[in-house]
Point group: C2
Chain length 422, copies 2
């Protein structure tokens, strides 16, 4: 077996039978199948069959981890064994195409009644396979270059209210937030190109507001315009953004389809902010779907320049350890692909800056707030300042309580949000 001909997938698998047979069944179902008496089948199986590389039984349960019609009516009369299974898939079967790759390594297997847990927890790719994907066109370096900021984490915010403002009202609060020192502002994932706030008008209004702010502060701000739409309209919306002078686009790439991100990445002239809403629907169960780091890796292959990875010390479901695994997957070696900039977002404010900086252990991330900026009691400009102040204090090794003594915006943020985490 020539290793470079294969993509290696690792699964958590549980079954009502024995785990070795389940692993073989998975490998067979997801490649050639088992049918006999067909001319040429033997050759097909040797070139195209997936191969079980390793099976590690881990434990037993007395009830299935997922529902199945095959469960006996009397509970406790059946044992379910689970373990870790490694399978090698010949990539000649699907080629460098994300939808076909997913159908092979993460397709029908989730539906099998005999598998009472099935989660894809790791994928390993040969460099040659990866070389067919451009990956992030900008990545961490390209994002920093647009802003001219190299020596610290980036500070950003999501416009709130999420939806309902017209282009001018939205541009006005963007202007105030940018004046407060934000590197990055983005549309909410719920706002794209609706009838009451067309993208074309928003680009004009926002880029004009950011120009005014830059003339006053001397600092650039990147704005991620949400181009999520019907899949055959995404590139057109990208072009509207670029023609209007926009410097970043955003895609809800799970609801639009991960290959829509790959398509946009091959076309884009500005960094892509990749929003992963919906993704936990197939990642949050411990027994089903995709592991988060697998998904992070696939998102990077698809070309995410800036990539949501949950929130450190935040309000989302994942623990900090899990979030940091995704951060590592944004930066780990992956063929020749650029790194994605990890975005920590979900319940962020000035008081979360120190813990985020400490746990990240490097400055290459975007600290993204929503209410932490736009919900600041003195408005978005003060909200933005409070986060920059927290970041500067952290860089100098000062406690936020100390820094807050002579920095009103930070003090108000700490009082209002009521929490500092180190």
């Amino acid at each position: 077996m020539k290793k470079t001909d294969y993509v290696i997938a690792t699964y958590l698998l549980e079954t009502d039978g024995d785990i070795e047979s389940a692993a073989e069944a998975l490998a067979t179902e997801q490649s050639t199948g088992t049918w006999t008496d067909v001319p040429g089948e033997e050759e097909a199986r040797s070139r195209h069959g997936a191969r079980v590389l390793a099976v590690t039984p881990k434990g037993e349960r007395d009830r299935p981890s997922l529902p199945t019609r095959l469960a006996p009516e009397a509970p406790g009369t059946q044992r379910y064994v689970w373990g870790i299974v490694e399978v090698a898939f010949p990539h000649i079967n699907f080629g460098p195409r994300l939808p076909n790759l997913l159908s092979a390594v993460a397709g029908n297997l989730f539906e099998m009644g005999a598998f009472t847990a099935a989660k894809l927890i790791d994928l390993e790719f040969p460099d040659e396979f990866l070389s067919h994907f451009p990956g992030p066109k900008f990545g961490i370096e390209g994002t920093r270059k647009v802003l001219g900021v190299y020596d610290r984490p980036l500070v950003g915010a999501i416009v709130k209210p999420c939806v309902g403002l017209g282009p001018r009202e939205l541009a006005e609060i963007v202007y105030r937030a940018a004046r407060g020192g934000l590197d990055f502002i983005k549309d909410d994932e719920l706002l794209a190109d609706p009838s009451y706030n067309r993208l074309h008008d928003r680009v004009d209004a926002v880029m004009d507001a950011l120009g005014r702010a830059e003339r006053e502060t001397g600092e650039k701000t990147m704005y991620a315009f949400n181009v999520t739409d019907r899949v055959d309209r995404i590139l057109e919306l990208h072009d509207i953004v670029v023609r209007g002078g926009g410097n970043c686009v955003m895609l809800n790439y799970v609801t639009a389809g991960i290959d829509a991100l790959r398509m946009l990445a091959e076309h884009t002239e500005v960094p892509i902010h990749a929003h992963r809403d919906f993704f936990p629907a197939f990642a949050r169960s411990p027994w089903l779907g995709l592991g988060t780091t697998v998904f992070t890796t696939l998102s990077r292959i698809a070309g995410a320049d800036q990539l949501h990875i949950g929130a450190l010390a935040g309000k989302l479901y994942e623990t900090d350890e899990e979030v940091l695994e995704s951060v590592a997957a944004c930066r780990a070696r992956l063929g020749g692909l650029r790194q994605s900039m990890p975005v920590s977002s979900g319940g962020q404010h000035a008081g979360k800056v120190p813990i985020t900086r400490r746990k990240m252990a490097h400055p290459d991330y975007l600290h993204l707030s929503g209410g932490g900026v736009f919900g600041h009691p003195d408005g978005p400009e003060a909200g933005a300042r409070s986060i920059r102040q927290a970041l500067a204090a952290t860089a100098e090794g000062r406690k936020l309580e100390d820094a807050a003594r002579d920095q009103a915006e930070l003090r108000r943020a700490i009082d209002y949000f009521g929490e500092i985490l180190y």
Copy 2:
């Protein structure tokens, strides 16, 4: 509140707080957000805010149904309440765009640490919203018209081995299966346009084989060519199929993205066979993701002419009751959209024909086998015949055991697969 301005979503929701507040939080997070002191916000909230219509508490648990960082370290010290929640979303927020609709009704909410279960179990659309989607261009009637078969269920098979055969070898077994009386044959979802079996060559070889079979039997066979690929190549592959005389295309529309199906449906000149591999990754958990009937409805809106709905008496995880709910969703009134033809597939053979026909309670479905045709001990032609024989016997009210006495292919199938279900 004008009902036609809203899409109504029903969720199963579980929380570590109280269920009414969780419902309000969901509605707010997925529309305007809660931020104050922004000019125009009050108007925004009245036009764009989602509204909680009903909350029905259902029960309590002493541990969360899904993992969350917010769970206390000592188990049993926290109660989790769950219930059914109805929320109305103003569709002005997203418009007739599936990715944006999904981001609104099924986006970030799955990631919230405070929601320890979140499953979208129903969606209700006003007709005006649906009118922006063409839906299935062919549906049940259009599929029947291509074949000229109106009075019975359709009989089909998936080519096995799934992958590895070249175009000629594949066309040869397709020819044999078509001679046996199949209405429908399809590529496996694992086969699309790989280097060793290019779609262009396969269309030529298969359509030639089907032409030969038709001249011998006088019956047409529809062949679903898998056009799953990079999202910006799907329409090109469709065109290759149509130019080569093909009469059906297939899309793995979950791995390609559901809006890729909508795009294909607006373009297609032949019926679309919609394969749902990967979908159980976000549907099989009782606590997370989308309910199956919601997904079936969305697939029909996206334009699925023939739609996989699991398997009656099959090897997949869903019970027959759940499968029949999806069948009903394929046929229920849905604005002015055509019905999708339900496809029962997964562990089918001649012995499953009677139970499938009885439980369907109508003839408008496609009974799709894999091994049940291509794994027949006397080959695919005999396999196909065995299913047509089983269907004819069932239509006449005969037991398969009786019919098998003078029909060798059916007898061999019953002996080999070892099971008849009524």
